[in-house]
Symmetry: C2
Subunit: 664 residues, 2 copies
């Protein structure tokens, strides 16, 4: 017979949220709720008390929150996470003899049965409990017990006494938890700062940030570009690698395997004699220039995100200094990186299975620490799915122990299980398949998976309509209307989204060749000269969408997303709401970039707190037009050649003669 | 940095079946398959090898079964459990360097790239692997390596060699598992004998087994009743408690709180001065009579199941010998058992929270051991949900260690989570809500939950249309047709089912009072005198249904259950099939006991291996009629006043002039 006491009778199971039996933490940002649910029950008919326990990592004591029973033995409680870092939570439950006794006493009393023995039992329970109470409470207890024993007090009054809030609270506070069941796992929530969940990204090649000139841009030039980026409303500026670029096997324009003398090479071929991952490409400036640029960006409320690509050009100093970090073949060469069918002759991968893996891992960590110490707190990690999962888990958790405000964006475009695994083991945000989800059905299915299933507990999507590697067919064929539609979708479906500019705002959509997703004359292999002042630029439209995002809290979160019916496959309709329904945004997008489309939309007014019998106002935040609607079905029409979307803020109701103000 | 080697790169997750993070075992019977699935993947593009490992408890070594990759990083394999007892299973996976190399070599060769370096790497891999191989294989290895190095052998021939089955098998066998990932849990499957899953129960009060007389039946009389029970095709005969019955607070007829002198009391008020749970009620006979009865039943292929009710009449010897096993109130009484609003004044519950819980638990176990040693292997456990879960988990696992063939049926009619918990912690079979599921929607929803969700891994339903405590309204109002319909439903929806007889076959349906589910003049409180020879008895119909069950393997299992469409809410249609489709049974039941109902049924012929373009034969095993049907939609009509059901065996196709035999 096991030595665990036979008196432990309560079962706690099915606790949520819990990822993979507690193997991985869930994620929240500061100020968010953690709502915890569990099935809690016991044999027989005894009453249960249950608590949600939580604490900040290393806190000496749990904070206790009562769990409330719902239906079918299911209980729920919640807490708010106040600071970045890690919190732990679990559940505790026990048989509450006093509550069982209270319940049965009332039944017997109401059924007209004698309760004199029950009252004696109750007095006994109070005496027993009082032994766990501090002395100060003792006098009150004496009064209760003598009242229960007194022949002068009516049964009615005794029942009132035992049901009184004061007595109940006392019995609750000192309840006997000796045989309480604790859920066998302590679960973890990683708490990030707000930007982990609500962020607006702009990707830019610093060397191309000089308009009207073919020269190599510098960090000084980048500073001059900041007002332009800030005016569009971006708050994260992500730069491809800024390190020295290798010469051996350097790529020419359009990925030509042979480079011309003046070709700059791709920034991802990191390392040359001037240095590697901790150095700055000389043509961009020096470390001081970089730091001045970072500080300047800060003045515009823009954070700089660096690209972390753990790979080397064949001229990287590591190759000579640490040959044991690479896999050498029988002919004394290193196999260059491949992502079939793509070949990267200018890049050596690290050999993570090297016997010297510990030294390698430590060195890679030191790269992050170096940039963190130079003021960087956001990293976009290049191809994390080609490095071991355990490496990332160790690296991210180790760094976040000292720097809980660091944000890691996983740039993995690969199989779903692998993308989710990277998110589980610690990446703060993740790129998604959004670029390839273009139809109503595709978008609905994918975003529902991301925002309404367990995935949302650990995977924070960052939606990108384009990147330097991804120019989708939808953008190639759909022209300006397609760029506008995809911008609205990304910016309203995702609390975090980003674009690769100025290619995006200038609607750059010429592919390298038909069927390719590569750009013609890709910026990856050459310095571009973007005319950001072009009158057809989408910069003002982007600024508008980003202002709408900032001003509407519903768009700062993803869990409030719901899709609604439209009787036209080219039109998609969805809403986002805050928990308290104080902000509800309804978005309609015409997915057909060529034609005007119209249809009837249908949405659950009552769920949104709107009386279907009364008119309500729809305020289109893109055009500033206001419409009066009534009922669950309303007609809409969108001309892609003008603006292919509405972003409505729903206003609750329309003024009547009884009202003082127009709208809530 | 953790000391786990950084080279462990493979992830194994989402393993199924796994109940509550592996806290509970799954269940199978001898000869069943355990199909195991998991998500298995690695960073990058390396090939993986994966094994399902399983062993009988205490086997020194795992048996290894290769897992096969399906889509989306999902892998599957299976094994068959051959003996009763416990098996363990888990999964192992590693990066297979040789398979990765083979795959890449073929790609390069087919792409016309040079492969000379790759062939050197291959030779190196073979050499490395050979160091793990026994000496006998070495000569062959030498041949392979020199062929790969030889300038006389063409590249084409070298590629053929490295793809050869012999070399691949060798490399597979001695693959480097040094950095293999093992799934962190070993999971358990409890294997029972066949009867745990396929059983046909008959409940009978032994004291009422004398027809045509008011006297108290004995085990000798029970022996005489065996041919009758065997003829109906039952293979488990379950007896309510056979122990001495208490006198204090004995219940009279119809649960009267005051008994007359001749009232026999309920058999669940266990214990009197003659003895308790290990004794036999004197009026039934002595232990020898019981053993002779058990042996006689065995000759008829009937197993006797005893009722285990862990509770005492106030005269049970335990009450005096072990007062510490009961909860005494301030007035020196014990609170009798209650299941509100039911009161059992003739029964004391044990106090499982007693400080002497260990002694109590051991004594209760000794009761089971006593009856096991007297040849009993099936126990129907009374109200297990009013005793602690941990008690049952300990008791059942402890007993099954020595007696893996023991079957425990859980008689818990309570909240769903509690019923499922009892099944998880070890009960072999469970009573269900079947008695109260009477409409098509109710039956479809409930049986789908039981047979098509994870519940089926641990909860084995035993379907009872009636019990001595449950006479449903459907039976009260529906008459004979209702009994026939419920019998067919129980016997074909459930591989295990049972009836309480002779009440069932005699269609006894008079309630104690309107709105009550208690029988009028319930057998629980008096000796009944059943006229089993009545011409309107359902005994022949029951015999037919039970023969159909025996002869059709599809009805021996529950996972093959599928519901099909009928355009009439009073008609329900479902099929059961064996895995290999060699036996497919289609059942149609008219749920309306009063009227003839007709409609069109629709079922997925192709899924069942039938050509929808050709006619096929439906053989009604109840009436022996045969019908020719074609296509997915067919008309049916059922007259409740004759037989309210069809049990069709589907025969694949109808003879044409090309065929020799009529039917497959």
């Amino acid at each position: 017979m096991k030595e665990t006491p036979g008196q432990l009778r309560v079962i706690i199971e099915g606790l949520k949220p819990e990822i993979d039996s507690g193997r991985f933490p869930i994620k929240r940002v500061v100020g968010e709720k953690v709502s915890v649910e569990a099935d809690i029950f016991v044999d027989g008919h005894d009453a249960i008390s249950a608590l949600l326990l939580y604490c900040k990592e290393n806190d000496p004591e749990w904070t206790e929150i009562p769990l409330e029973p719902l239906v079918n033995d299911h209980w729920r409680g919640w807490f708010v996470v106040a600071e970045p870092g890690c919190y732990r939570y679990t559940v505790l439950a026990w048989i509450d003899q006093f509550k069982s006794w209270q319940r049965d006493l009332v039944k017997k009393f109401q059924g007209g049965q004698g309760i004199s023995i029950e009252l004696m039992i109750g007095a006994h329970l109070i005496t027993e409990t009082s032994q766990r109470a501090p002395k100060l409470d003792r006098q009150k207890i004496g009064e209760w017990i003598s009242a229960l024993h007194s022949t002068q007090v009516s049964e009615q009054a005794k029942v009132q006494l035992v049901l009184s809030e004061e007595l109940s609270q006392f019995m609750d506070k000192y309840s006997d938890r000796q045989f309480a069941t604790t859920y066998p796992k302590e679960l973890v929530v990683v708490v990030d700062r707000e930007k982990a969940l609500f962020s607006t990204w702009y990707e830019m090649f610093p060397r191309s940030c000089v308009s009207g000139s073919g020269r190599h841009g510098t960090f000084k030039d980048c500073e001059a570009r900041l007002p332009y980026i800030a005016a569009m409303g971006f708050d994260v500026l992500y730069l491809p690698p800024i390190h020295p670029i290798g010469h051996i096997n350097r790529k020419g324009r359009n990925n030509n395997p042979v480079a011309n003398r003046n070709d700059p090479g791709t920034p991802w071929a990191i390392g040359y004699k001037e240095g590697g991952h901790k150095s700055i490409h000389p043509q961009l400036g020096i470390l001081d220039d970089f730091q001045s640029f970072v500080a300047k960006a800060h003045e515009y409320d823009i954070e700089i995100a660096l690209d972390i690509a753990f790979q080397c050009s064949p001229d990287h100093p590591y190759v000579k200094e640490h040959p044991e970090w690479f896999r050498w073949r029988p002919d004394n060469t290193v196999q260059y990186a491949e992502n079939p069918p793509k070949k990267y002759e200018d890049i050596y991968p690290f050999e993570f299975e090297t016997k010297n893996w510990k030294e390698l891992w430590e060195e890679l960590k030191s790269i992050l620490i170096f940039w963190i110490e130079h003021g960087i707190r956001i990293f976009r990690v290049d191809n994390p799915h080609t490095k071991p999962f355990r490496f990332w888990e160790w690296l991210i958790s180790d760094i976040k122990k000292s720097y809980p405000d660091v944000v890691f964006l996983s740039e993995a475009f690969t199989r779903p299980k692998v993308m989710y695994q990277l998110a589980k083991l610690g990446f703060t945000q993740s790129y998604t398949y959004f670029a390839w989800r273009n139809t109503k059905q595709e978008l609905t299915q994918y975003l529902t998976e991301l925002t309404q299933t367990q995935v949302r507990e650990y995977f924070r999507p960052n939606l990108w309509p384009n990147t330097p590697d991804i120019l989708t067919e939808y953008l190639q064929f759909g022209g300006r209307a397609a760029f506008m539609a995809r911008l609205v979708l990304a910016g309203t479906l995702g609390s975090s989204y980003g674009v690769y500019g100025p290619a995006f705002e200038l609607c750059e959509n010429r592919p390298k060749e038909p069927g390719s997703e590569e750009y013609l004359d890709s910026e990856k292999y050459e310095i571009k000269n973007w005319d950001i002042a072009r009158p057809d630029s989408l910069k003002d439209f982007i600024a508008r969408v980003n202002r709408i995002r900032r001003e509407n809290p519903a768009l700062h979160r993803d869990w409030g997303l719901r899709f609604h019916k439209v009787d036209n496959e080219q039109l998609i309709c969805y809403s986002k709401r805050t928990d308290d329904l104080s902000n509800v945004v309804l978005v309609l997008v015409n997915l057909d970039p060529h034609h005007t489309q119209s249809g009837w939309v249908e949405f659950p007014l009552e769920e949104l707190g709107i009386d279907p019998q009364k008119p309500y106002q729809m305020h289109d935040l893109l055009s500033d037009a206001r419409y009066l609607w009534q009922g669950t079905r309303n007609y809409i029409e969108l001309n892609s050649q003008v603006v292919p979307a509405h972003i409505f803020r729903m206003r609750r109701r329309v003024r009547t003669e009884q009202d003082f103000d127009y709208y809530m």
